[in-house]
C-alpha cells in the first residue's frame, strides 16, 4: 500500500510541476507584485492546465496524509524525493530541456537512495 501511495504522490507532484511549467511558459513572464498576483489568480481559474496542476497538488498532499498515517515518517519524506528522478526524465524527453551530467548524476543518486529505503 505504501508504494502505491508513494507512486500517487510522485506522479501527481510531477504532473502538477509539468502542467505548471507548460502553462506558465505558454503565458510568458509573470510579475510578482500585487497586480501580477491578481492576474496570476485569474489565470489559475481560466487556464485549465493550471487548474489541473492545483488539483494534482491536492491529490499529492492527500496521498501524503494517507502515507504518513501508515508508513514511517523516515520513509515517507525522503522517498518523496523520487519526484526528482521522474522530473529529470520527463524534463529531458517531454519538455526537451537540456539535462546536464551533474543533474543526471544527482537524479541517479536520489534513485539509489530511494531503492535503499525499499531495502
Amino acid at each position: 500500500m505504501k508504494w502505491l501511495l508513494l507512486s500517487i504522490i510522485v506522479c501527481a507532484t510531477v504532473l502538477s510541476d509539468l502542467l505548471q511549467s507548460y502553462e506558465m511558459k505558454r503565458s510568458g513572464e509573470q510579475s510578482v507584485n500585487a497586480r501580477g498576483l491578481g492576474r496570476l489568480l485569474r489565470m489559475i481559474v481560466s487556464r485549465r492546465y493550471l487548474f489541473l496542476a492545483i488539483v494534482c497538488m491536492a491529490v499529492s498532499f492527500f496521498a501524503f496524509m494517507a502515507l504518513v498515517q501508515t508508513a514511517p515518517l523516515s520513509f515517507a519524506v525522503p522517498a518523496s524525493a523520487a519526484t526528482f528522478v521522474l522530473e529529470t526524465v520527463l524534463a529531458k524527453f517531454v519538455l526537451k530541456e537540456a539535462v546536464g551530467k551533474r543533474r543526471a548524476a544527482g537524479a541517479l543518486l536520489v534513485l539509489g537512495g530511494v531503492l535503499l529505503l525499499a531495502h
Binding site: K25, G28, Q69, P72, S74, A81, R103, G113
Partner: protein, 161 residues
C-alpha cells in the same frame, strides 16, 4: 540660467557616497540575518509540520482512503491542523526565500529536510531506521543538492503571439 557650484555638488555627492559606504556593512549584515532567519524557518517549518502531521494522522482512529469526508474529519485533529498550517507557512516562506536566493541554494535545504524527517521519526515517533535507510537518506540529500546546483535557465522565454 542658474549656475551650479560644481565643487560644492561634488563634495555633497562624495559625502553621500561616504555615508552610503558606511551604511552598506550594516545593510549587508541585516540582509544576512534575514536570509539566515528564513533558512532556519524553511528547515524547521517543514520538519515540524511533517512531524505534527504524522503524529496527528497516527492518532486519527479512522483510516483515510478514497473517502473525502475522512480527510475532512482527520483535519479536525489539532496536530493534523497544526501540521497543515505549518506546511502552508513553509511553502510561503520558501517562496519568499526563492524570490531572492538561488534555487541552487534553496534546493539543498529541501534535502536537509529529508535527513531531519528521518531523525525526527527516529527520535520522536520511535521509528526503527536501519543503517541502509540512513545511507539512502544521505544519498537522497546529496542527490538533491547536486540536482539543485545544475545550471538553470532563468530568463523568460519569448512568447509567440
Amino acid at each position: 540660467m542658474r549656475e551650479i557650484d560644481l565643487p560644492l555638488a561634488n563634495t555633497a555627492a562624495l559625502t553621500a557616497l561616504e555615508e552610503a559606504r558606511e551604511f552598506q556593512p550594516s545593510r549587508r549584515r541585516g540582509s544576512k540575518l534575514k536570509t539566515l532567519a528564513l533558512v532556519l524557518a524553511v528547515i524547521f517549518l517543514n520538519a515540524i509540520g511533517n512531524l505534527s502531521l504524522a503524529w496527528g494522522m497516527r492518532h486519527v482512529s479512522e483510516a483515510v482512503s478514497l473517502n473525502p469526508s475522512a480527510y475532512l474529519r482527520a483535519m479536525l485533529n489539532p496536530f493534523v491542523a497544526l501540521g497543515i498550517a505549518l506546511l502552508i507557512l513553509w511553502l510561503l516562506t520558501r517562496m519568499a526565500l526563492l524570490s531572492w536566493a538561488d534555487l541552487s541554494f534553496v534546493l539543498p535545504l529541501t534535502g536537509v529536510g529529508y535527513v531531519l524527517a528521518a531523525f525526527l521519526g527516529w527520535r520522536f515517533l520511535n521509528e526503527v531506521v536501519a543503517p541502509a535507510h540512513w545511507t539512502g537518506t544521505i544519498l537522497i540529500f546529496v542527490g538533491t543538492a547536486m540536482v539543485g546546483t545544475t545550471k538553470q535557465q532563468t530568463h523568460a522565454p519569448e512568447v509567440s503571439e
